[in-house]
Symmetry: C2
Subunit: 360 residues, 2 copies
């Protein structure tokens, strides 16, 4: 079991990673009541194990349908209504058991229900354990605009149990490791080389290794958000791969790519873009694309119109005054945030990666 410590303006909390992490919930005290927000399939498979580990006795969860469409204001309102009907007050606790959707929605509801109650993240996907459950960003989507509305609101605790990852489809399992790759690039040669030796062929049953990968990748997120909770500066580097990634997701109506897969393509494009403008040595670009591809096959991006994708870039939330702030690798562990990128290079980076003419 590993315990990572987040220190942020909104408070300190632990990220507990490892077999038996849910048992840490038994230590939580002083709440008038506790509620679990989760998805039906997940609860069928893990509900009993969860309740026993947490020592919460009989739990009747608040259920939302699986999938991105649950990350809406409509659903947030429904969950708030259910909390009210069940007697949740300002001293109640909400626990989000699920992937990014449940975590983002649950965090948003917790941050706004009666103007804020405590919550715990119990992430059940690689992506959520490595990335989205840490850092106190909550969100819902508005129409096609992902995460347009949300809050910064620190959880009381994050408990990441690797055993649940065995329920993920192979594709969903892999998808989360692209965020781990991102964290390797952000962190530096130590973690990056360590991942190069371990990511290829990683399976859910490799529990010991899996726990190490999740914990080391999560540690990067912990360090970044500890130093900058509100994205004023440093935290923006976490957006590596997300500018193109979000545009790819939006251009395909969130149907073709899992989030991690879109980020993987986005990392490749940002890396190629960094090479094209002379920021990154091609040898390093090669290592980055090599690590991305080592995770496994990505869904193809053929058929996507370049103009459509490029037009969506300024809609990224990190854009200011219509200008995209690019997060680009200058090297392993060296990131540059800059609005000064020629449009022609952006187009070329997209095309070369799309056509597979660069490090494919």
């Amino acid at each position: 079991m590993r315990r990572l410590q987040v220190k942020s303006a909104a408070g300190e909390y632990q990220v507990v990673v490892g077999r038996g992490a849910w048992r840490a919930l038994a230590r939580l005290r002083g709440y008038s009541s506790a509620f679990v927000l989760t998805e039906p399939g997940l609860w069928r498979r893990w509900g009993r194990t969860f309740a026993r580990a947490a020592g919460w006795g009989h739990v009747r969860p608040i259920l939302v349908p699986a999938g991105e469409t649950s990350k809406s204001l409509l659903m947030a309102g429904r969950v708030a209504s259910e909390l009210l009907d069940r007697g949740a007050d300002r001293r109640s606790l909400l626990l989000a058991l699920g992937g990014g959707v449940v975590g983002d929605l649950g965090g948003f509801v917790a941050s706004t229900y009666m103007r804020g109650i405590d919550y715990v993240q119990a992430p059940t996907t690689v992506l959520a354990q490595v990335d989205s459950a840490i850092g106190g960003k909550t969100a819902v989507n508005i129409g096609a605009m992902k995460n347009l509305v949300g809050t910064f609101y620190a959880p009381r605790l994050v408990v990441s149990e690797p055993a649940v990852l065995s329920s993920l489809s192979p594709r969903a399992f892999r998808s989360g490791f692209y965020e781990a790759v991102k964290h390797g690039i952000l962190s530096g040669p130590g973690l990056f080389s360590w991942l190069e030796a371990r990511l290829a062929g990683l399976r859910p049953k490799d529990t010991g290794l899996l726990e190490s990968v999740v914990a080391r990748a999560a540690q990067v997120k912990v360090e970044v958000v500890t130093r900058d909770e509100r994205e004023a500066g440093l935290r923006r580097i976490l957006n590596l791969g997300h500018t193109f990634g979000h545009a790819l997701e939006e251009a395909t109506a969130y149907r073709r790519f899992l989030h991690g897969e879109a980020v993987a393509w986005g990392i490749l494009m940002a890396t190629r873009l960094a090479e094209l403008i002379g920021l990154l040595a091609p040898a390093v670009g090669g290592r980055i694309s090599g690590l991305v591809h080592s995770v496994g096959p990505l869904p193809p991006i053929r058929g996507l119109r370049e103009e459509k994708v490029l037009a969506l870039l300024p809609r990224d939330k990190k854009a200011v005054g219509g200008k995209v702030h690019w997060v680009l690798p200058e090297g392993i562990g060296k990131i540059k945030v800059t609005p000064e990128v020629p449009a022609a290079a952006v187009g070329s980076a997209f095309r070369e990666v799309q056509r597979g003419v660069w490090n494919a």
Copy 2:
């Protein structure tokens, strides 16, 4: 012009009260864009005056229908969409020009749009100028549950122009002064006696006096929220009259009473309740009910079933573990918050005030 200073955990800001207060907006700098959220009728009457005073040139406002139904998650999502479509980014400013509905909704949208942008409150009702625009509480309603979802999020500035109050209906105008009465009770004999000599017969055209009343009543709110922004303790005294008040509003589906009117009845009931449990001397209770009645006639509360109203009390947001925390006057400027109130006294207080057998 009076400038009150709020110092809260979320930041410091000024509350500018007086003729020409909107001109303070001209000093705001450094935003990528600015947007006005308001209601159609208000904008027709005051839009041009506002834009000229603010020095904002041509303004195309974001409009929401007048009335409580606009304070919804659905409307918050629509406003966020419109902000996005108009190019609002993280450095944009949102100004809420309106009463409590526009202020609460605008504050909520600002606190969640891209996880938070700056906003300004430009309150246009007595109630909003005296109370709701100050303190950084934002909210929307969920179904019949008022303010169930919201945030604590300090505005950048509050600008209260008394000239707009002349557009209010006589009833809406009066309604806001019940919150001023509440502030008089909370504050102490100085303000209370001052209000006793001035509230009766106050008219929108008494501009000098109106400005004084608004500024002095607003000052009480400023002081309370400066000392306790998040309702952990002191701020709860602001809930005086609101436990019964919210139940009355809910029992009548928000149709019979304006918010201030429901609070007025709630103050009367809380005052009688304090008398009944021996907390408050009847002579002081008489002064309180006298000041409430001096504002003007209230809509009748006859016909409301006692059991229905009492059953709604534990649904108040300030209830913890199903227990209502009563905010009761022990004297002018002396408030007690307590869960220890016999149910029989609560019923009696309601009945006596409803039947007009106490200080009517």
